[in-house]
Symmetry: C2
């Protein structure tokens, strides 16, 4: 491994393995994430949180309540309101009133939102595939596996995981 001058360079030789792994993981994530953010901005004039919200809705044909989106995206309610306001103004998502609970709204993609998201999702998948293209399959699968365990442990340790 070469000594590239990035975030990982903050690791010291005596650091614990877990710490070195984390710094490398963080560097990779930041690299990928910043490329995706840049491309979403320059090619689609949108942001990652907006893309994430639309991705959640795409997977939920019946729509999602705003509170559920807040949990999934791990941000507070007010933020979902803000992102939703933008997307609604642009005609990409719509708020629907719930018969059984008049406090709630359910969000859905509009037909236009569905079309727009499809184009973005295809591009997004292309970018990601390209970035992971040369990672050997067995390494890719091993990482997927290991990350699955890691995620379970971390979620289990979270203070609010009993919710």
């Amino acid at each position: 491994m070469t000594d590239l001058p990035d975030l990982e360079s903050r690791a010291a030789p005596e650091d614990h393995h877990a710490l070195r792994l984390w710094l490398r993981m963080l560097t990779c994530c930041n690299l990928i994430e910043s490329e995706i953010r840049t491309r979403l901005r320059t090619e689609f004039d949108t942001t990652l949180p907006r893309f994430d919200l639309m991705a959640q809705l795409q997977r939920a044909p019946k729509g999602l309540k705003m509170g559920e989106l807040s949990r999934r995206m791990m941000v507070t309610n007010g933020n979902i309101t803000g992102i939703t306001d933008q997307l609604e103004k642009e005609g990409l998502v719509m708020r629907l009133k719930v018969e059984t609970d008049r406090r709630s709204s359910v969000l859905k993609l509009t037909p236009q939102g569905r079309r727009t998201f499809s184009r973005m999702a295809r591009a997004h998948e292309r970018w990601v595939k390209a970035m992971f293209a040369d990672l050997p399959e067995d390494h890719r699968d091993a990482m997927y596996q290991a990350l699955g365990e890691l995620k379970l442990q971390i979620v289990a340790r979270r203070p609010d995981s009993a919710r």
Copy 2:
């Protein structure tokens, strides 16, 4: 793997392996990062970029020029100026004039900055170790390996990598 209601839930069954891996990786990183940010804030009243900058300086006893920090932390010059202003005001880092180039400053940790950073770094390592504690060694090493390759590829693909 259970179907937890988080970011990864935006993956669809037909998604490419690379995409699913990326979403899982992103979820893990976000979980870890947000725990670290919260703890840095509540226990040390500081932020991740400030911690990162100090970590870079800790590893560079001779100090670093601000432009070099900007490259390593992958943010623009102006942001380094801002973070440095804060840390300097609190007496944690100092700007030193360079004899050979009067445009440049070299940043170093002050003695107090060194002490403060040591305490934070020990705590930070404890947090990370705890989060990775139950990940089997062989998985951990496999991930470290795979991420190393991934990082090389992504860096090589970056538009400014020829710099």
